[in-house]
Amino acid sequence: MKPLRVIIVGGSSGLGAELARQLAARGDEVAILARRADALEAVARFQPDRIRTYPHDVTHTDEAAALFEDICRDLGGLDLLIYAAGIMPQIEPNEFDTEKDQAIFRVNVEGAIAWCNLAATRFQAVGAGTLVGIGSVAGDRGRPGHPAYHASKAALATYLESLRNRLWRSGVRVITIKPGPLDTPMTQHLSMAKMPVAVAAKKIIRGLNRDGEQYLQLSHRLIFAVLRLLPSAIFRRIRR
């Protein structure tokens, strides 16, 4: 198989970094982006000849287009873009902080739109390419814990579905990954069973040739199929 040219936005830690490592290990050319240059370098050290680093803050959406073009030129093309950047700050039960919520949307939604639109434009023009957004099962229902986070993942999922329905005739694949809790720095403050990122990354890479929404665990697919159907009046009474 020909090596893929891949951009991973949010590739300095967690799932993005693991995806970079696994893709590079199988021979793909990977460009990783994140704010912290030192963290990016640490990931690239795993395979410096196949992982390129580009420090970038996804909230600076006006810088995305030029950077996207530069990276594509450095990679010699683009086959796959993964948007893995995401934040979930700790929110207290009685906390309603607009600035925090807006920051979540800037990273999880606005950054995603900026990068996915660039990739979608390109992929549609050439009639090929795969776009992956790392969503979450949290986007399936509005649970009480992190309102803006849930809403941001729901927005991302709907945006990606829309892209999918726009691009399917062009031969472009749009995949929404809906992991459950993963063992990443972002979820350190959550006390629940978490899937190791290495396992999640492996599943995501295995599913790159399948379009649509993908849960990483069958149990999540079944549980959320049911949960989505529950009336809100019942859903809010379920203890999580």
């Binding site: 594509c72 030129r73 093309g77 023009a125 050439v126």
Partner: protein
């Protein structure tokens, strides 16, 4: 942005394609490239087999919109056209008045600009040489954006034609057409039972015929190695009927080809991917001759495979590599015998093997010399791709050492060290000097040029700026 590849579908890549419909548009693009520090790759119909008109992530100047025939003079036979005019358009334009280009390639889909950048040859290469020899004038534009007129009196004329678009864009050209007594050719068919016989028939037929081409059966082995058919032809003295002229001017796909190779799905055509199917076809072609002499209109004779548009897609997804060494006349028989044998020994039997005879042409980048060429089409099977490439790399090295040359329109393998093996040091220096004068900023490039390390000579400070010769003094401003 668009996904592009060469004709062989091997170098799939994405690039920014900018249509150029007038000189001014190219000038503006050059200015923008200078400001943005980008390079430009010139592209016509994209019919070169490899990466000669490609540039991953690059800026591609698509010259097809410059497609006007500017002047056609029946009294002199001189035609002036812009670079984007296709050979098909050009041929139809003059055939109606009883003329035909001195040289045409095996497909009419190419553009005039591309044809001159590669300096194409045809089935009469042994007699007429290359297309460039029938050109009386070209208008070119280097990286400074000034249009210049070059004639055969200018040394740069002989460098630009065949220069693979590395000095700049050929914007228009004037060509001398030859008058035809009719739109048909009298074709003679011979069967050769061995490579030796192929050459004997070739020598005999090229002495008095206008065109000659050999179709070899790559599967034939032992004493029959190199067997196949030879078609030789000359213009018919019997004038064409109106129906014949109409058929030549409006070629249509035959019913059989529509059934065998339906354009979108390539159903039965895909069976050509199987060596056994190709073996049977070659055997039938070589053993069964329906007619040993027939009359054929010039479109059908020259552009045989145009009847099957995009036939190369039969070989997707692996694509197609055409390997075409040009071997000096005296060595050709033995060299091709060894080459065909090596192909069989390595189980890389070409789907098509075409023999042609060439004579030297006066261009700086004369890829042929006095030679025979054997064009071998290799369908690429993905699971054996790397073995095929390394086999062909080995053959390239061996053939270059033995004095062979290669043609940029077909090449996918040449490396920087190879150019010096078939171009004299003085000529390489002259080409580099011309590059430095016409394109001091290295604006013009291609994936092929990058691969071959072809760029303007850096000045002392290391930046690729103008050489020591006065820039673009040669030729007349337009």
């Amino acid at each position: 942005m668009r996904r592009l590849s060469g004709f062989g579908m091997r170098d799939l890549h994405d690039a920014y394609v900018i249509p150029i419909d007038r000189e001014e548009a190219l000038r503006e693009l050059l200015d923008l490239a200078k400001i943005s520090r980008r390079q430009i790759t010139l592209r016509g119909a994209g019919q070169s087999y490899g990466d000669a008109a490609g540039a991953p992530e690059g800026w591609i100047a698509d010259l097809r919109p410059m497609n006007q025939i500017l002047n056609w003079d029946q009294t002199t036979g001189l035609l002036t056209a812009q670079a984007g005019v296709t050979l098909a358009t050009l041929c139809r334009h003059v055939l109606a008045d009883g003329f035909w280009p001195a040289v045409v390639s095996g497909t009419s889909a190419i553009t005039l600009g591309g044809a001159l950048a590669m300096n194409i040859h045809g089935k009469n290469a042994f007699r007429e040489g290359t297309l460039g020899e029938s050109v009386t004038e070209i208008v070119v534009m280097g990286s400074r954006g000034i249009a210049k007129r070059l004639t055969p009196d200018d040394r740069d004329f002989w460098i630009w034609i065949g220069g693979a678009g590395q000095f700049g864009a050929i914007l228009q050209a004037t060509l001398r057409m030859k008058r035809l007594p009719s739109a048909a050719l009298e074709v003679r068919v011979f069967r050769a039972s061995s490579l030796q016989e192929q050459f004997e028939i070739f020598e005999r037929e090229t002495a008095d015929q206008e065109y000659c081409v050999g179709w070899l059966d790559g599967f034939a082995s032992g004493e029959e190695l190199g067997r196949g058919l030879i078609h030789s032809a000359r213009s018919s003295e019997t004038p064409s009927s109106e129906a014949e002229l109409r058929r030549a001017l409006q070629p249509r796909r035959s019913l059989a080809s529509k059934i065998l190779l339906p354009e979108r799905r390539w159903g039965l055509g895909r069976m050509l991917q199987f060596p056994l199917v190709r073996k049977v076809i070659h055997a039938l072609k070589s053993d069964v001759i329906l007619h040993d002499h027939f009359r054929q209109n010039c479109f059908d004779f020259h552009f045989l495979l145009d009847a099957l548009p995009n036939w190369q897609k039969v070989f997707s997804p692996g694509g197609l590599i055409q390997f075409q060494p040009f071997v000096p006349w005296d060595d050709a028989l033995n060299t091709f015998r060894t080459l065909l044998q090596d192909c069989q020994d390595h189980d890389f039997v070409p789907s098509l093997a075409v023999l042609k005879k060439h004579r030297a042409s006066p261009f700086a980048l004369d890829y042929a010399g006095d030679s025979y060429s054997l064009a071998l089409d290799f369908p690429v099977q993905l699971h054996r791709e790397s073995q095929l490439l390394s086999f062909l790399e080995g053959q390239t090295e061996r053939l270059l050492m033995q004095g062979s040359r290669f043609y940029f329109a077909k090449d996918i393998l040449l490396q920087p060290q190879h150019l010096g093996m078939f171009l004299a040091p003085s000529l390489l220096h002259e080409l580099q000097d011309a590059k430095s004068r016409w394109d001091p900023e290295n604006l013009f490039t291609s994936a092929q040029a990058e691969r071959m390390g072809w760029q303007a000579k850096p000045n002392e400070k290391g930046s690729p700026t103008a050489g020591t010769v006065e820039p673009q003094d040669r030729g007349e401003n337009v």
